[in-house]
């Protein structure tokens, strides 16, 4: 009886935006007479940080400080449509909508500033809340002054609207699954290496470390991004080892009805986490961003399963990998029952789990 160490690696890919696209987001922006910017978008912030990231996109695109931006996603009367915060789409799809709206606002600010300064707007630039003449930075006016002039001199409202829609992809041949257009907005890639300890007496698995690499497109806000990736790693650990609604699936009894009986990862179960984040900008994402919110929990379960095999030589392919399942696999191994079936060039693992073992109307063979 001993504790064994093992290492496992997994690689995953994941799309940004809804599968088959066709998921619009819209936004509009207005500017107050002192140049402060109000963004209206219907993107719920579920903790993912869309209020923050979309405000950053607007500030950057117009050329005003971050703290000049207010973001209102509070209701469907004021805010235009956003398909929603899911499918890793809030930064990419909804972010593109606010980006387009912000570009319009910027153009309108430059247009009014051009009239105020009697200069071609093409010769103006806008940054840090000031419009200035290209090459003559001393000649400038604040966006607050421009907005005041728009309101009280020119009788104009500085607004912008934007919408983003990747056209929906259609399955043109249901027999093959062929589609007519790309079915995703972008694809992200990631890999994870898990280091585990497995106690062969209790079946207990401890994850010591998760090392992760993500192609994140562009880090819009690195701290926010790291938070999502760390959180995803722990959720992936929960998937791999701890969580299930049906502990004796497919049986439905013994369901966990509280945090005491449904095992969400706890603070003391946190492994060491190390991340390498790769900036590989997407041509169509706002400032190169991709959506990585969901994929952050996709690579850990398999990396952990592979690490367990590396440690004690058993494959557990039913999740989560509970101590009971580890011990059962070790028992099968001790009894010589875990070897795959080998017939000619065909190697068959897990035959006892297959539809072939229990069903008569469906089978799956080479």
């Amino acid at each position: 009886m001993a504790v064994h160490r093992g290492t496992g690696m997994a690689t995953v890919e994941y799309p940004t935006g809804m599968n088959q696209n066709g998921d619009p987001s819209q936004a509009w922006i207005k500017v107050k007479p002192d140049g402060r910017v109000d963004v209206f978008a219907g993107t719920a912030d579920i903790g993912n940080g869309s209020k923050t990231v979309q405000s950053q996109i607007v500030a950057e695109t117009i050329g005003v400080p971050y703290d000049w931006v207010t973001y209102d996603n509070s209701n469907t009367d004021s805010s235009p449509l956003c398909t929603g915060t899911f499918a890793s789409r809030a930064t990419f799809v909804a972010g593109n909508a606010v980006l387009k709206a912000a570009r319009q606002v910027r153009e309108r600010i430059l247009s009014v500033a051009g009239r105020e300064m009697e200069i071609d707007p093409a010769d103006l630039e806008l940054a840090d809340g000031r419009v200035s003449v290209v090459g003559t930075p001393a000649k400038s006016m604040g966006v607050d002054e421009v907005a005041g002039a728009a309101t009280f001199v020119h009788g104009e409202l500085l607004t912008g609207d934007g919408a983003h829609l990747n056209p929906g992809a259609t399955i043109v041949d249901p027999a093959t699954g062929e589609v007519d257009l790309p079915p995703h907005a972008a694809i992200s890639y990631a890999a994870c290496v898990a280091e585990v300890e497995v106690d062969d007496e209790t079946g207990d698995v401890q994850v010591l470390k998760l090392t992760q690499a993500y192609d994140i497109g562009r880090a819009m806000n690195p701290t926010l991004l790291e938070g999502q990736i760390d959180g995803g790693a722990v959720m992936g650990l929960g998937f791999g080892l701890l969580e299930t609604c049906y502990p004796y699936y497919p049986d439905v009894e013994h369901r966990g009805d509280s945090f005491a009986t449904y095992h969400v990862p706890r603070m003391e179960e946190l492994p060491e986490i190390a991340n390498v984040l790769i900036e590989n900008p997407s041509s169509e994402g706002p400032y190169g961003a991709k959506g990585i919110g969901e994929m952050a929990n996709n690579a850990q379960p398999s990396a952990i399963a592979i690490a367990i095999h590396d440690a004690v030589g058993v494959w557990v392919t039913e999740f989560p990998i509970t101590p009971e399942r580890v011990l059962a696999a070790l028992d099968r191994k001790a009894a010589g029952e875990d070897e795959p079936r080998r017939e000619g060039k065909v190697v068959t693992y897990d035959a006892h789990l297959s539809v072939n073992a229990v069903a008569s109307k469906i089978s799956w063979t080479p």
Binding site: L224, F259, M267, V276
Partner: protein, 174 residues
């Protein structure tokens, strides 16, 4: 009976076995303690009772007569943030924010009790506080930073000690 919350004495009329959580939220409109499970299992409703962290969902009103109850509203305000609150902002320790009140309260009790920056000690002190968003990494960093006596810039957030960035060229396609 009288209930002292954040140094203010309130006359409350809820029955004595009403949970403190319900009294705070429903009778006094103090909504920072969150209803996460009503069975002491998540930590989102944690308040200080005479400086000690307590699950307000499991604390009957009659048990807090004559003692000082402190919620996160009593630890700091948007204008005058406590150091723990500053640390949670600077370290991006809140995402959805629903567990945050309880986390800040429990971390404050730990640190006021002389808690150190030792990771395992913080984990032990905050054990039973669930966060589904952050993976706890930045919460632990925030609490450790307070224990280490750090100052907190509230216009920026802390870089991560566990993350490195690389750029690959040739990008620019979807």
């Amino acid at each position: 009976m009288d209930l002292v919350v954040n140094s203010v004495t309130h006359q409350v009329s809820s029955p004595p076995l009403t949970s403190l959580l319900e009294v705070l939220r429903e009778e006094l409109d103090i909504t920072s303690p969150k209803v996460g499970c009503e069975s002491g299992g998540c930590g989102a409703c944690t308040v200080l009772v005479d400086g000690e962290p307590r699950r307000s969902c499991l604390t009957a009103l009659c048990m807090v007569e004559g003692v000082e109850v402190t919620t996160v509203e009593g630890l700091g305000t948007p204008a005058v943030l406590s150091r723990v609150q500053q640390a949670f902002i600077h370290h991006y320790a809140a995402q959805c924010g629903f567990c945050t009140s309880g986390m800040v309260v429990a971390a404050t009790a730990y640190l006021d009790g002389g808690g150190s920056a030792d990771l395992e000690s913080i984990q032990e002190a905050l054990s039973g506080h669930y966060c589904r968003c952050t993976g706890y990494v930045k919460i632990l960093e925030a609490v450790a930073a307070v224990a280490s006596g750090n100052g907190f810039d509230l216009t920026a957030t802390a870089s991560s000690p566990n993350t490195t960035y690389v750029t690959i060229d040739g990008g620019g396609q979807s």
